[in-house]
Subunit: 237 residues, 2 copies
Amino acid sequence: MLQKNINICLSPDLIHLYEVKNKVVVVTDIFRATSCMVTGLANGIASFTPIATISECAHLQSLGYIAAAERDAKKVDGFELDNSPFSYMDPLLKGKNIAMTTTNGTLSISKVKKDAAQVLVGAFLNIETIANYLIEQNEDLIILCAGWKGTPSLEDSLFGGALVDLLKSNFKIADDSATMTYRLFKEAKNDLRAYLQEASHLKRLSGLGIEKDIDFCLTRELYSVLPILIEDKLVLK
Amino acid sequence: MLQKNINICLSPDLIHLYEVKNKVVVVTDIFRATSCMVTGLANGIASFTPIATISECAHLQSLGYIAAAERDAKKVDGFELDNSPFSYMDPLLKGKNIAMTTTNGTLSISKVKKDAAQVLVGAFLNIETIANYLIEQNEDLIILCAGWKGTPSLEDSLFGGALVDLLKSNFKIADDSATMTYRLFKEAKNDLRAYLQEASHLKRLSGLGIEKDIDFCLTRELYSVLPILIEDKLVLK
């Protein structure tokens, strides 16, 4: 069997450099879009439809979706849900379909959904389930880090490195971004929270008083679920 | 005095995300364009004119420039000089003007030259001179890593981190890319050569039999020179 490759794309603004076709893409936006999606699906939400723009999100809202819209880490007026994972544990949301647009995460999904063989959503919350599934697939892998408005972010890079750590016996590390994030993760892994103290997005979020979201999003394998994009909806496999 | 910021841009394909105006930009392409430029200027070459395309380079050649053209780490047929720093030590080149196009480095310079307050060229070969000069400037700093065809590279990232290490008392680390490269450099600094063993561009170059270029390009402060772009020419300040 040919060895499968891992590439890490540190920003959706670099994804045009990667051949996405026939590959599995794992999109991650640790603080907080993909952590919300994993949490919601694990708690009974039927689906998330990731949307790139506010106006498309409003359109789906008018069709009966529950709408979540975040820009600059804050909820957009006129939409039901914010970008905190705790909001997606509400029992009243069970069985519902959510339309979601966020600054970075849903934009990243929208950039790869047409071409990739499979699009999965990963977070520390489901990292082991994701890794075990990827080991069973035959395709090369691209981990797409959502970052912050196009620039790479420390937390998404560390997730990439953590996934490389779990996959390195089964995949070949195929680019320097994968090497770099893996080395950063190895240095960080004994205390991710402390290592992230200087992360710019953590500073952004701290100002909003959502420290508990941070600790929650760094919890490893709390939910053994596999969110996968089928047509335009993210559902559990 | 307001504290100055350092941002690191890991790829020329991300430079549109940064406000370049009124900033000092240090462009680096360790293997090997900026190492060649530093070496050449330190050895008496009068100027380098960085060119984005092969055809523009051929045009300057027809006007009497000595032309250097590299693509995919190899010399392009019809041009005089390759991309090895040793080629730029030739005493016959003293006082000459070079037109140079490379896969990554000269493209990066061309992307910032119109807007930046100053464009400098940095390499490990002149890192301390660059750092001392930057400390005296009043502007914010962007370190632009040339990478490889748009993707980030380990060696350019480590140079960014090494420069952050020299500047951290005088500048504020302003983004996660600067944090990440600084941490990678701290881990790597005792043996850069060994740390780079997995770098993809090193593998690319090893196949071309230019190991001695690698060791040379990693030599620290061999030349205490400051290459700066004046109009379209890179000259010594």
